[in-house]
Amino acid sequence: MISITEEAPVVSGSSDVARRMARIADEISGPAADEVDQQGRFPSETISALRAEGLLSALVPRSLGGMGASYSDLSQGLVSMGRQCASSAMVVAMHHIQVASLVRHGRNDLLRNYMVELVDRQYLLASATTEVGTGGDVGSSVCAVDVADGTFRLEKQAPVISYGRFADGILATARRSADSPENDQVLALCRPLELELEQVGEWNALGFRGTCSPGFILRASGDAAAILDDPYGDVSTQTMLPVAHILWSSLWLGIASAAIDRARRFVQAEARKRPGMTPAAALRLADATALYQQFADLLRCSVARFEDIQDDPDRLSALGFAIAMNSLKVSSSTLVVDVVRQSMVICGLASYRMDTPYSLGRHLRDSIGASLMVNNDRIMGNNAQMLLVHRGE
């Protein structure tokens, strides 16, 4: 007996945080998604709703006033949001990546107090890692922080800062000092009163249009304690990279989930028209569903892999773990495009048109960005290098 369910429960047995994010996604992000995409405007209603529920500090530990949510909670919440509006979900994911870095690598009093303030004011944080001159090689910086008398100064040419204009703070990478080599980097928290952003160009992109990601010249200064305690290399290996790959993959799974839902509804509508005849596209749906399952299970396992060792810097720094987290990013950014494309073949013209319940144009455009944000070839190049010495599991 085949049981027929309309909607696959992506969020099953989910926590409060995941459920609340799912509700905001369904009620607020979804209805605004097309407009956010068409106008390339910031998804302010989603961010306001998350703020109102204190969800921008979901990852902050309870001891600092936050929710102490787990990465799996957040991952599930982002799947739900990615289903409705990938731009909104990308903004939220990028914010939480910054919060995770602060929470896990900012130990001094200034940064601890800032976390408490972030909980209270529900600050939205953005990221400036990419730089003019280094491209996607975020492990190198051209700019340097200039520290004197306990104060830092920084000027950075950033080709892309998502929602830079809407952020309450920006974490920027830079060389430790003017004399430091390009890979001796720190991460500096740049705060509004001491931060000037000069916009360079516009963000008129194929997808993730609502992330509002033009270039900026960033000029910042502030208390030197706003520089994170750990070197950026450690922050990146132990937190930014794994958390980014997990949270990005979560919202990409959401895009795939929305696509496969449309494909399933399309095939089921066909089946209802001619009971007794299995629609031709049903076979392809079975194929796409297997692909989707690979994706969903890969993500679930990867989140567990990170959570198992999240407090063990040594295991987080192991080559095998880095290779696995890089592979996750490359696989999921490929799978999302595959699932969307298969779903489009299933729904046919109805998905190609921009005005049907089966439209998938926005999903396809958004999904293409996944393999470019930190280029898959660059990531595979890093894995290739690590595999020259990795001994296997």
Binding site: G139, S140, R176, S180, P181, E182, N183, D184, P231, G233, T237, D314, S317, A318, L319, G320, N382, Q385, M386, L388, V389, H390, R391, G392
Partner: protein, 79 residues
Amino acid sequence: MDETIRDVLTEHGRLAVDAGSIDESTDLFASGMTSHASVNVMLALEDAFDIEFSEKMLRKSTFESIAAIRAGVLEMKDA
């Protein structure tokens, strides 16, 4: 042994400083060695000393200074 280590660093470490004269406790990563370069250093050390670093030695900390590298090589030679 230290001389061989310094030679390997000179050839593969891409340091911003002279590997022949730096202090044995100088942080190599802070001196410009990228993780990319550290993999090449590792490979060259394995070749020079005819050893194979075990998985648990493949950490940034094993390669962070000349002293750390020496300790690592000795540990692998005894293994």
